[in-house]
């Protein structure tokens, strides 16, 4: 028996997963750009990674950038899940926001774009 749209599960859970992934990747891009702009921030990010990742010294500030990404991703997923799980959201708009967000995150890890932004 086919289900009508009103009978299907609310799409809020999928939306929460998508937005959380986008937020995590945007944070990764922002933190990476920040480390390129400031050596002090770069050191701080490195220290965060060293706090928990084994052999983090070997991979440098990358460890801290991964850490910030994971915290932003899973933290925002938890919050978004709780607030959106039973809601029906306009998926078309969310998908558009998601695609733009991922595109911006991609630019923020692309060195020529970072140099252009920081006027290096």
């Amino acid at each position: 028996m086919s289900q009508t749209p009103s009978e299907t599960k609310p799409n809020g859970r999928a939306v929460a997963a998508m937005l959380a992934a986008m937020i995590g990747l945007l944070v990764l891009g922002i933190v990476h750009t920040g480390t390129q702009a400031s050596s002090d921030f770069n050191t701080a990010v490195f220290n965060v990674g060293k706090a928990w990742i084994p052999n983090a010294t070997g991979i440098g500030p990358y460890s801290g950038k991964e850490t910030f990404m994971l915290i932003a991703w899973f933290g925002s997923w938890g919050l978004l899940y709780l607030s959106l799980r039973n809601r029906r959201v306009n998926l078309g708009i969310v998908t558009l926001i998601f695609m733009v967000g991922i595109a911006v995150a991609t630019l923020l890890v692309y060195t020529p774009f970072i140099h252009f932004m920081l006027s290096k």
Partner: protein, 215 residues
């Protein structure tokens, strides 16, 4: 004489009748036997290769040879799996997918392979950054390779995991309603296509950098 005629008639009828489907199915090996047979034969040839060929020389003499080989093999496996997922995602988009369970299982495999490739990538990155490693070589000889291509590759590789998880999570959470929900099918297909594209870009850049200077 009558008995002989009867037997001949039965024989000729048996020969002219097409074999029944049940008999054909009975004659075919089960999927389990096929997979086990394939695994046993593969294992035999792998053992033969490992014991009779200088496999160590094939990997190289670097202390990172095994780790980097595993990173590359996982990435290659990931490319294969995510390509199949991409095809099934296209079928999902146009509403002609029948193998929903295959797509769901492969979406989980994509997540696992992506995670494993990233973990091994982190590991081998230590060698890349070590004094005298590929990074030092590129910065001394051709900085753009590290600053533009490798740096982009190392970050974009991380994108594959959240994207693959979004696709897998949505496919599993909405497995009952997905055939009727075109909008969600379209969104999941977009996520799958993004995952495939980023996986391919990462793979190509990784292979190109390794070709220029490996750990």
């Amino acid at each position: 004489m009558r008995e002989m005629k009867k037997n001949n008639k039965e024989d000729s009828q048996r020969l002219s009748d097409p074999p029944s489907t049940e008999k054909v199915e009975e004659a075919e090996p089960s999927p389990f036997i096929t997979i086990v047979g394939w695994a046993v034969i593969s294992l035999f040839f792998i053992l033969l290769l490992l014991t009779t060929s200088p496999f160590g020389a094939f990997l190289g003499t670097s202390e990172w040879a095994v780790v980097s080989a595993l990173h590359g093999m996982l990435a290659t496996l990931g490319v294969v799996i995510v390509t199949v997922v991409g095809y099934l995602g296209w079928r999902l988009y146009i509403g002609q997918l029948r193998a929903y369970s295959d797509l769901r299982i492969l979406s989980i495999l994509t997540v696992l392979v992506s995670a494993a490739t990233i973990i091994f990538g982190n590991w081998v990155y230590i060698a890349y950054r070590s004094p005298g490693g590929p990074r030092a070589y590129f910065l001394a000889n051709n900085p753009a390779i590290h600053e533009v291509f490798f740096e982009f590759k190392e970050f974009i590789a991380l994108f594959t995991l959240p994207l693959a998880i979004v696709a897998a999570y949505s496919l599993w959470t909405y497995r009952d309603s997905l055939p009727q929900n075109k909008q969600l099918r379209t969104t999941i297909t977009i996520v799958i296509v993004m995952t495939w594209t980023i996986f391919m870009v990462t793979y190509i850049l990784g292979a190109a950098v390794t070709k220029l200077r490996s750990v």
